[in-house]
């Protein structure tokens, strides 16, 4: 039976040699190598649940009066877009489960990508010959942020409308071309023409998913072509020798188990833990806003950036040049993106990394400079992220908002510097302790050998 199937495949496609190689392809074993796989499997769940959602969503912003089963909104005017998401949540069997699972999957997807990126960064896995893989990954992270933002904007509830207004303002604030760009995208001043929602829709369900699929394919192909990196845990692992578990029978059940586990967590969250109850927020109108609004977690750093920025526009005479949202909403993420793109090159310019060809990973302590810079960046972004929740801290713990903002404005400068120093010293000390430990053991060993000879 197996032989007949393999023979069928081989005679029609000539893939038996490829199949054999694939089955014996080696996966080095470490828990942190699974983070990228978690992101991959969350993407699978996103595509599956997303296809279901497209079969019910309407992208029209034409107004309609609600007469559905949800009592508090009856008689309210809303867009077809909002009503279709509401109906999906209340009238369609399993609709709410799939919608909530999709939303949770988006959150987990981006969380997994971020953790994967941290692992790649701090172990130096992006070094030659894997820079292309790394750049593709960073691109996918930022494309995914946009994809998530578009996704929750489509519901046209009060929160998503506020998010779009902010996105529009950030687009407007871009020097020279902001107003033109915003007019182009929205087809006129906010909230835009009837064409805007169909544009967001097609970009969210086709253009970006396709782009992500292509980037993902190239990312995985490059990983496979150059094989995985590995930690040096035993002698036989080297720059030339890879030690790992073969795809089959070793790795396949583990990886499929991870897929099932990711699906399990996402469906349990989707069924049991409420997320984005749009019926509570109500439909969006430009003249409405709510207090305590927070975006999905992965945009928290941008709201933090917008809130931390002191209030000024760059002006000349009676004209504004650079409006305030540019700094926190556009420049800040751009700086992080450019840093991530340039880092492999920057590390060489700093002389911390040569032109070497690497298959072995480093531990953070092996590259104190990189670890320090990484911690500084991470602390910077995290502090801005936390500052985005200052209003919630005000409400919940009664710490005045204005004072928190001033504390954060100082911390975003002091924090990264402190983090870098602590990280650098820790790496140096850990390395020194390790060296002296090794020397002591060697001396003891030699002493024992000398005694036994004597």
């Amino acid at each position: 039976m197996i032989r007949r199937l393999v023979r069928f495949l081989d005679t029609r496609s000539g893939t038996a040699p490829l199949l054999r190689k694939t089955l014996r392809y080696l996966f080095p074993d470490h828990w942190s190598f699974l983070l990228g796989e978690v992101a991959l499997y969350a993407f699978v769940v996103l595509v599956g649940t997303g296809v279901f959602l497209t079969l019910f969503y309407e992208d029209s912003t034409a107004k309609v009066v609600y007469h559905g089963p949800y009592e508090p909104l009856r008689g309210r005017e809303m867009t077809h877009a909002y009503r279709s998401v509401l109906d999906l949540s209340t009238n369609v069997k399993a609709g709410l489960l799939i919608r909530q699972t999709h939303h949770w999957a988006a959150n987990v997807f981006i969380a997994a990508i971020v953790l994967h990126l941290l692992r790649i960064f701090f172990t130096g896995a992006y070094r030659k010959p894997r820079e292309l893989t790394y750049w593709l990954g960073v691109t996918m992270l930022f494309v995914s942020l946009l994809e998530g933002y578009l996704g929750y904007s489509l519901a046209d509830d009060l929160l998503s409308g506020m998010g779009l207004a902010i996105g529009y303002s950030v687009a407007m604030s871009i020097p020279f071309v902001g107003a033109n760009l915003a007019e182009l995208l929205w087809d006129g001043p906010f909230p835009g023409s009837h064409a805007f929602f169909p544009r967001m829709y097609i970009v969210h369900v086709l253009v970006i998913p396709l782009l992500l699929a292509v980037l993902l394919g190239a990312h995985l192909a490059l990983v496979a072509l150059k094989h995985h990196t590995q930690f040096r845990r035993e002698r036989r692992q080297s720059e030339r020798k890879l030690v790992g578990v073969p795809t089959f029978p070793g790795q396949a059940p583990r990886s499929l188990g991870l897929l099932a586990a990711v699906a399990a967590v996402l469906f349990l969250l989707g069924g049991l833990v409420q997320i984005n109850p749009i019926w509570l927020w109500g439909p969006y109108h430009t003249y409405l806003a709510t207090n305590g609004a927070q975006p999905d977690w992965y945009l928290g750093w941008l709201i933090g950036g917008l809130r931390l920025m002191p209030g000024f526009d760059v002006t000349i005479g009676g004209y504004t040049l650079v409006p305030n949202p540019f700094w926190g909403g556009a420049l800040f993420p751009l700086v992080v993106l450019v840093f991530l793109y340039l880092w492999p090159w920057l590390e060489r310019k700093l002389g911390w990394e040569g032109d070497g060809y690497h298959n072995l990973l480093q531990r953070p302590r092996d590259a104190p400079g990189r670890t320090a810079v990484g911690w500084a960046m991470l602390t910077w972004v995290t502090l801005v992220f936390v500052a985005g929740g200052a209003d919630r801290v005000d409400v919940m713990f009664d710490v005045p908002y204005t004072e928190q903002i001033w504390i954060f404005r100082v911390l975003v400068f002091v924090g990264p510097a402190l983090a870098a120093i602590v990280a650098y010293r820790s790496c140096i000390e850990l390395g020194r302790a390790e060296r002296s430990d090794r020397e002591r053991r060697q001396a003891e060993h030699e002493a024992r050998a000398a005694r036994s000879r004597a």
Binding site: L26, D29, A94, L97, Q100, T101, A165, I166, Y168, S169, M172, S173, I174, G178, A179, N180, E183, L184, G188, P189, R199, L225, K226, R236, R240, K241, V243, G244, V245, P246, G250, P253, L256, G257, L258, A260, A261, A263, A264, L266, L268, H285, T286, Y287, L288, A289, T290, N291, R307, G311, D313, G318, Y319, T320, L321, P323, N324, P325, D391, Y401
Partner: protein, 330 residues
């Protein structure tokens, strides 16, 4: 001496290795995958987990079919989630106990292939195309021009160069201020200590230029700058409801920046807490906004209804490169 020792060790190692695997019986082939450990308990466990997964998946279908169950979403999520939990557990048991965990060695691919690189370069060179510089330049020009031509239709997406539209609002002299139900606001019904949302009668409410916040301030507190003199109607002041920072609606009066015992009321945007002082004509007193809130001159008509006396004293909504900060818009 040391060479002899190395040789001896080598011989011993060779002998030890020889003793390792059982000799092959005639007609038997050498295995590729080493035999998996016999583990009846683990196999039984994996089978039970898979059966549990099957049961949960069937339960999902049953919950879906049986309508009118209370908490259907939760039950659906629980049954499907558990089906995957059991499947994951079964696969982990399979990976850890039922298949052999081999740690194999393999060579990393060659860092580079100098011979192939040279061949590729020579194929391109010997084609002779790269030496025809002018042809290459012309090819680049054609490619670039076609690229530009192909993205030109993207300009159809929006008006693109008609930025003047951002200045337009529906407010005109004499236009009545109406509430959400379309009823005109009478000056007498505007009370102190709260704010009202008003719209231009008969205009599109979603237009960023439309919505207003109305506030009545005590006579003594009003401190309008000279250019806004006469903008109020008996202590009632009207501002654009759209924040000049990021386009959200100004939906808070005081809280949370200004505690109930703070002396001055303020208009606050809940998105990034830009705060504006209605008494001084909408100036920014806190937060990231870079421009004051546009103020609309209003008056009370002979019928007691609030009407606009003109347009705002500045552009409405978020700023852009080159926006005029002041000056009424027609």
């Amino acid at each position: 001496m040391s060479r002899a020792r190395g040789f001896l060790i080598g011989v011993v190692l060779l002998l030890l290795r020889r003793r390792g695997p059982r000799p092959l019986r005639p007609g038997e082939r050498e295995r590729i995958v080493p035999p998996a450990p016999e583990n009846a308990g683990a196999e039984l466990l994996a089978i039970s987990l898979l059966l549990a997964s099957t049961a949960c998946a069937i339960a999902f279908v049953a919950v879906y079919v049986l309508d009118r169950l209370p908490r259907q979403t939760q039950l659906l999520g629980l049954s499907l989630g558990l089906a995957f939990v059991f499947l994951a557990a079964a696969l982990v048991v399979t990976a850890k106990r039922l298949v052999v965990t081999e740690e194999l060695e393999d060579d990393y691919p060659e860092p580079e292939h100098p011979g192939e690189q040279e061949t590729v370069a020579r194929i391109v060179e010997e084609s002779g195309l790269t030496r025809r510089k002018l042809l290459m330049v012309a090819l680049g020009a054609a490619g670039g021009a076609i690229g530009v031509a192909l993205i030109t239709p993207a300009a159809s997406l929006g008006p693109f160069l008609r930025v003047s539209r951002f200045y337009r609002t529906p407010w005109r002299r004499g236009r009545r201020l109406v509430n959400e139900n379309g009823a005109p606001y009478r000056a007498a019904e505007i009370e102190q200590g709260t704010f009202y949302t008003a719209f231009p009668e008969g205009a599109d409410r979603e237009d960023l230029g439309s919505p207003l916040v109305l506030v009545r301030l005590p006579r003594g507190e009003l401190d309008l700058p000279p250019e806004n003199a006469g903008f109020d109607a008996d202590g009632i002041v009207a501002f654009s409801k759209i924040c000049t920072h990021a386009g959200c609606a100004i939906a808070l009066y005081r809280a949370p920046l200004f505690r109930p015992n703070d002396p001055k009321p303020a208009l606050v945007c809940p998105c990034h807490y830009s705060t504006f002082d209605p008494a001084s004509g909408g100036t920014v007193i806190y937060g990231p906004a870079g421009r004051k809130l546009p103020m609309l001159p209003i008056a009370v008509g002979s019928d007691g209804v609030l009407r606009a006396k003109g347009n705002f004293d500045g552009p409405v909504g978020p700023s852009w490169w080159g926006v005029r900060m002041k000056g009424p818009t027609p």
